[in-house]
Each structure stands twice: as structure tokens, then as C-alpha cells.
């Protein structure tokens, strides 16, 4: 009996010794990992150039929950240049360089020159949640590229910031084309838009909710614009983030309770001209009222920006078609400014 126990114990031990290392059958080698990395690098190089209208990165502003801010990137893979369009700024020439580097974490997509991305990293999180202009490349597919900010924020914080899933720019995003549909810096664009009463109607696609707000774009502070640009433009006065042309701004008076065209206005948020877009981000902290009005407006319409996809002019009647997008680039809000009933 004792022997049986011993023999059984012996056999069991023997089995354990032989079996225990089965799971050590390592199939991934460093060579294979390097191979995967090289494949990803090659895929990324190719894929970046495979969207005629560019790729879109949606960044999150602290001013909105569902609306995300688009940054469109068009890659020239021959010269490693990238052209970016965001709702901020309206510079026509906005090319910068990019590099595909290797890092200890794998393949890196590095926006190596000053661009909308480096600017957003520097700006307040109301503008976007970008925490680095260098990104770890997590996956590359034909229709999407997943990237993650290498740094997560301040010095000595963990590696790995927000993750973005880049997708191909939808064809109907006319605002992201080079052609300027509405640039209120220009006199011809101001006709029947500036100093004109209108109504802003917005449709919230997921809920079916409709909102109408009385609207009036004030004149553009032309007399003081130069000095305001030098001292008050949050991008220009912040050299590290200064990648756009100097701002153009005006009061976008609103009447929340009276959603019709009228002469009465309750509040005066400030709108800034973006590339075929208007954005409403409080910035002039010395003027608490304007700051609060702009903050209130962005939160009440649930988006810090409205892109302009079409401007229809019939005589003096003007319709400005606007939209705001969600995280995946789907229309979250559609609507229009209209200066006639």
C-alpha cells in the first residue's frame, strides 16, 4: 500500500515535471514582433495616402458631451507633408511635416512640425483633448487607423493619452475643402449676414429635438481688431499654439426664449471665424460677462462649433447650412441660420 502510494506519487511528480513546461511553448519571437512592427509601419505609410479627401481625427472639448471637434488631415506620402483643416483658424496655407518613427512602444506617427495638432496640445482643453503631437499607432486598417497620444499630459504622468480612431473624410464635408464658403473677414461675405437679424434652427439627430434661437451677428470690431489680435487672440498670444492666422470675431447676439427673427436679444456670446466654421469658446477672461455668455451659448447648443457646409443666397435672403459632428463623424446636429421667414 505504501509502495503504491510512493509509485503513484512518483508518477504524478514525473507527469508534472514533463507537463508543466508545455505552456512554455513560446511561438512569438522578437524577430516576429519586429516583423509585425515593420508590417504596421509599411501599412501606415500606404494607408495614410489612401484617402483622397484625407483622414479625420475627432477631438473632445470639455464644453460638449456628444459633439466632437473635427481635424481633417490630408497626407502627401511622397513628401511627408500633411495639410490640416480644423474648425479653428482660417489659414489657407497650413501644411506641416510628419514622420513615421519607431519608439519603444512601437510605431509612432509624429506630427513633427507646428500644426493644428501641436496647437491643440498647447491650448486649453475647451479646444480639444490632444495631449501630444506624437502618437502610438495601435492599429491600421483599410477604413480606420487607431492612434494614441504618447504623453498623457503633464511631465512624469503615465505614457498613453487619449485614443483616436481616424476615419476617411466623408464626401459631404464641404467645409473642409480649401474653398471658403463664408469668411466674414471679407466684405462680400458680410452682406446680409453681419448686422442682420436671423434665426438659428438646430436639429439634434439622435433625439429628434428641434431648437430655434433668435440670432444677430454684430459688426466685427474693426477699429480695435488689430490690437485685440495682438493681445487677445488665444492662439496668436500663445506662440507655441500660434499656427493659424489672427482671429476675426464678432458678437453673435442671441434670444433663447424668442426663437424668431426679431430686434430683441438677451445675451451676447462671441463667435470666432474658423475655416468654413464658427466657434464659440470663451476666451476673454478679463470680461467676465462675455466669457459667461459664450460659455452658456456653447453649452446650450451642445457644441462649441458649427461648420458651414453651404451658403445659399437668393437676393437678400441668406441661408447658412451648419452642422456639428459626433465622435465617429456622424452628423449630431444639422441646422441653419436664416435671415428671412
Amino acid at each position: 500500500m505504501k509502495n503504491i502510494l510512493k509509485i503513484s506519487g512518483f508518477l504524478a511528480l514525473l507527469m508534472v515535471l514533463f507537463v508543466s513546461c508545455e505552456k512554455d511553448n513560446i511561438t512569438t519571437t522578437v524577430e516576429e514582433l519586429v516583423g509585425t512592427e515593420k508590417q504596421m509601419e509599411a501599412d501606415l505609410k500606404q494607408t495614410l495616402g489612401k484617402s483622397a479627401n484625407g483622414w479625420v481625427m475627432m477631438v473632445k472639448s470639455t464644453l460638449a458631451e456628444t459633439a466632437y471637434v473635427p481635424v481633417v488631415m490630408q497626407f502627401d506620402t511622397i513628401k511627408n507633408m500633411v495639410k490640416m483643416r480644423s474648425v479653428y483658424g482660417s489659414a489657407v496655407s497650413n501644411q506641416s511635416t510628419y514622420l513615421i518613427n519607431k519608439g519603444v512602444s512601437g510605431v509612432l506617427l509624429n506630427f513633427s512640425g507646428g500644426s493644428a495638432v501641436s496647437s491643440l496640445m498647447r491650448m486649453d482643453r475647451k479646444y480639444g483633448d490632444v495631449t501630444d503631437y506624437v502618437f502610438k499607432v495601435l492599429s491600421v486598417g483599410a477604413e480606420s487607423i487607431k492612434i494614441q497620444c504618447l504623453k498623457s499630459g503633464e511631465a512624469y504622468k503615465k505614457e498613453g493619452g487619449p485614443i483616436y480612431t481616424l476615419f476617411k473624410r466623408p464626401e459631404n464635408w464641404k467645409w473642409a475643402d480649401d474653398a471658403l464658403l463664408l469668411d466674414l473677414k471679407k466684405t462680400e461675405a458680410r452682406a446680409n449676414v453681419i448686422s442682420t437679424n436671423s434665426v438659428l434652427t438646430l436639429n439634434y439627430i439622435p433625439t429628434g429635438e428641434k431648437v430655434s434661437i433668435g440670432s444677430h451677428f454684430g459688426p466685427g470690431f474693426d477699429g480695435v481688431l488689430n490690437s485685440w489680435q495682438l493681445n487677445g487672440d488665444p492662439f496668436y498670444s500663445n506662440a507655441s499654439a500660434n499656427v493659424f492666422d489672427k482671429f476675426y470675431l464678432f458678437y453673435a447676439y442671441v434670444n433663447y426664449s424668442k426663437g424668431t427673427i426679431s430686434d430683441d436679444y438677451e445675451d451676447y456670446p462671441v463667435a470666432r471665424q474658423g475655416h468654413n466654421a464658427l466657434y464659440f469658446i470663451p476666451f476673454y477672461e478679463r470680461d467676465a460677462n462675455t466669457w459667461a455668455s459664450t460659455d452658456k451659448f456653447a453649452k446650450s447648443i451642445k457644441t462649441p462649433y458649427l461648420v458651414i457646409n453651404e451658403v445659399i443666397r437668393t437676393g437678400t435672403n441668406v441661408t447658412i447650412k451648419v452642422a456639428s459632428y459626433d465622435k465617429s463623424g456622424k452628423e449630431y446636429i444639422t441646422g441653419e441660420y436664416r435671415n428671412f421667414n
Binding site: 510512493k6 512518483f10 511528480l13 514525473l14 515535471l17 514533463f18 508543466s20 513546461c21 512554455d24 511553448n25 513560446i26 519571437t29 522578437v30 524577430e31 519586429v34 511622397i78 513628401k79 511627408n80 507633408m81 496655407s93 497650413n94 501644411q95 506641416s96 511635416t97 514622420l99 518613427n101 519607431k102 519608439g103 519603444v104 509612432l108 509624429n110 513633427s112 512640425g113 507646428g114 500644426s115 501641436s118 496647437s119 496640445m121 498647447r122 491650448m123 486649453d124 482643453r125 495631449t131 503631437y133 506624437v134 504618447l150 504623453k151 499630459g153 503633464e154 511631465a155 512624469y156 496668436y236 500663445n238 506662440a239 507655441s240 499654439a241 500660434n242 499656427v243
Partner: protein, 286 residues
């Protein structure tokens, strides 16, 4: 029997512990050629206009202009932001080539050969210790190393504004003075001139005339000896010789600092008064 059994067990255990993991020998150390931080030069077919200009400058002057940032260039816990492409291109052409390297090589060939840094980093903005805080630290912020120089504020420098350009080039020579200080040392005699009278963090509470009375060319020079040295160089690069000497002769400490700094530079082949007039003429008269 019992012993034999135990020995067998031990031998088997021994053999298996040596053999059982032998399949792991497929795992090797990382290949020697996998260098995550290798500096790979951009292939020529990918060059843009600025890359070509930087290559010409490198061949003519031996200075590598860095306008693209990678984790190899920028430490991960400091926050520097790259300049925009258009601004960097115009800046390199005008400031780097026309206002810095060309006149330096032509007028001070020996000084150029020995004292020119091998890297110059263009910064869009300034040094930040935090990614989004609005506070900014000193101008270039990283010029305490003699092989590399850098200037901040490229994104905001209006190249059509002569006063701003002049100020920028003078500041460049201030930053380069930090290079020289680190490389050779300004010396104990210099440090003894104002010992015990530096303003430290209170420098910004002083007025410029007060600073001159206290023996500093600028109130910022009163911050610390290294800035005292750099602002002396800056003053001589900024103001015409006669004006500079009038001020210098009004104060014993300024005179002693001037004599030391002027000799420090002359010994290396640089006449700061001559440099001043060259820079001034290039900015204002061309």
C-alpha cells in the same frame, strides 16, 4: 530500495529541469540592429524646400537646423512646440542664413570656425514646464550647452518688423553668450565684481536706471552672474560703440565687466562692436 527510489526521483527531476524548458532557446535578445533611437536622415526624395535649405546651410556652415521635432530631440518631460513650416522656412532663410551665419563666417572667420554650435533648434513658442499652463519660462530656455543653440518665438516673429527682427538677433547673441560661458567659463574675476549684490528673483522689481547704478547693463542681468555675463554681450551687440562706451564709463562695475567680456571675445576673434554695426546695418539698411 527506498534510497534507489529517491535517487531515481532526484535524477529524473534534475534531468527534466534542464530539458523541460529547452524550447525557450528560440527567444533571443533584441537584434543589435533594432535601435529605437537611431537618427535616420530623411531620404532625399522626401525633402521639402526647407530640408533642401537646411542641407545647404549644413554644407556651407556646418550647422544642423532642426525644425522637425522627434522624441530624440525633445526630452519627454519638457514641453516645446515645433514651428509651423512656412514660418520656419522664412526664418531659416532670413535669420539663420542672412543675419547670423553669413555675416559671421564672412567677417569673423576664425570665431565662426571655432565657436559656432553644430545644432540650432527652432522653437514655435517658448519653453513650458507644463503642456497648457500659460506661464512661459525664459526665452530659449535651453542654451546652457555649447554644441546646441536654440531660439523661441519663431511662430510670432514678424520678419517685416525690423525692430522685432533686430531684437531677435541681438537675443540670439545673448543666448550664444550662454554657450560661450558654459564652454570657457566667464571666470571668477567677473563673478567677484557684483558678488553679493545680485537681485535674484527680485530683478523684475527694479528699474533699468537703478540696475545701471548697481552695475548691471539691464535689470535682468542683475538676476544672476550668468545673465549678467549674457546681458553684457547683449548690450554690446545691441547699441553702437559710442553709446555703449558712454554708459560703460559712467559706472566702475560696468567698466570692469566690459573690459573682461570684450577681451574674452576679442581673444577668440570676435569684436562685439563690429558685430553690432554689421547686425544693425543688415537689419536696417538692406
Amino acid at each position: 530500495m527506498k534510497k534507489l527510489f529517491i535517487y531515481t526521483l532526484l535524477i529524473l527531476a534534475g534531468i527534466s529541469s534542464f530539458l523541460s524548458c529547452s524550447k525557450e532557446d528560440k527567444v533571443t535578445l533584441e537584434k543589435e540592429n533594432l535601435d529605437y533611437f537611431a537618427i535616420i536622415n530623411k531620404p532625399k526624395e522626401k525633402w521639402n524646400a526647407l530640408d533642401s535649405l537646411c542641407d545647404t546651410i549644413y554644407r556651407d556652415y556646418g550647422v544642423k537646423i532642426v525644425y522637425e521635432y522627434t522624441p530624440q530631440v525633445i526630452r519627454p518631460n519638457d514641453f516645446y512646440y515645433p514651428p509651423t513650416y512656412d514660418k520656419a522656412l522664412a526664418y531659416t532663410r532670413k535669420v539663420m542664413k542672412t543675419l547670423w551665419l553669413e555675416p559671421l563666417k564672412k567677417n569673423f572667420p576664425d570665431y565662426f570656425k571655432r565657436e559656432t554650435p553644430i545644432e540650432f533648434i527652432l522653437m514655435g513658442g517658448y519653453y513650458h514646464g507644463h503642456p497648457t499652463n500659460t506661464d512661459i519660462a525664459a526665452g530659449a530656455g535651453f542654451n546652457g550647452q555649447f554644441y546646441r543653440l536654440g531660439m523661441g518665438g519663431v511662430n510670432n516673429l514678424d520678419l517685416s518688423n525690423k525692430a522685432a527682427v533686430h531684437d531677435h538677433v541681438v537675443t540670439l547673441w545673448h543666448e550664444h553668450a550662454h554657450n560661450q560661458d558654459v564652454k570657457y567659463g566667464r571666470g571668477e574675476i567677473f563673478d567677484r565684481i557684483s558678488i553679493g549684490t545680485y537681485y535674484k528673483e527680485a530683478w523684475n522689481t527694479k528699474t533699468e536706471p537703478q540696475a545701471v547704478t548697481d552695475g548691471f547693463f539691464r535689470k535682468y542681468g542683475g538676476f544672476a552672474p550668468e545673465e549678467d555675463f549674457a546681458t553684457t554681450v547683449e548690450h554690446l551687440t545691441r547699441f553702437p560703440k559710442n553709446d555703449a562706451l558712454t554708459l560703460i564709463n559712467s559706472n566702475e562695475k560696468l567698466k570692469r565687466k566690459y573690459n573682461l567680456v570684450n577681451k574674452f571675445y576679442l581673444d577668440k576673434g570676435m569684436d562685439l562692436h563690429k558685430l553690432q554695426s554689421i547686425v544693425y546695418d543688415l537689419v536696417y539698411k538692406k
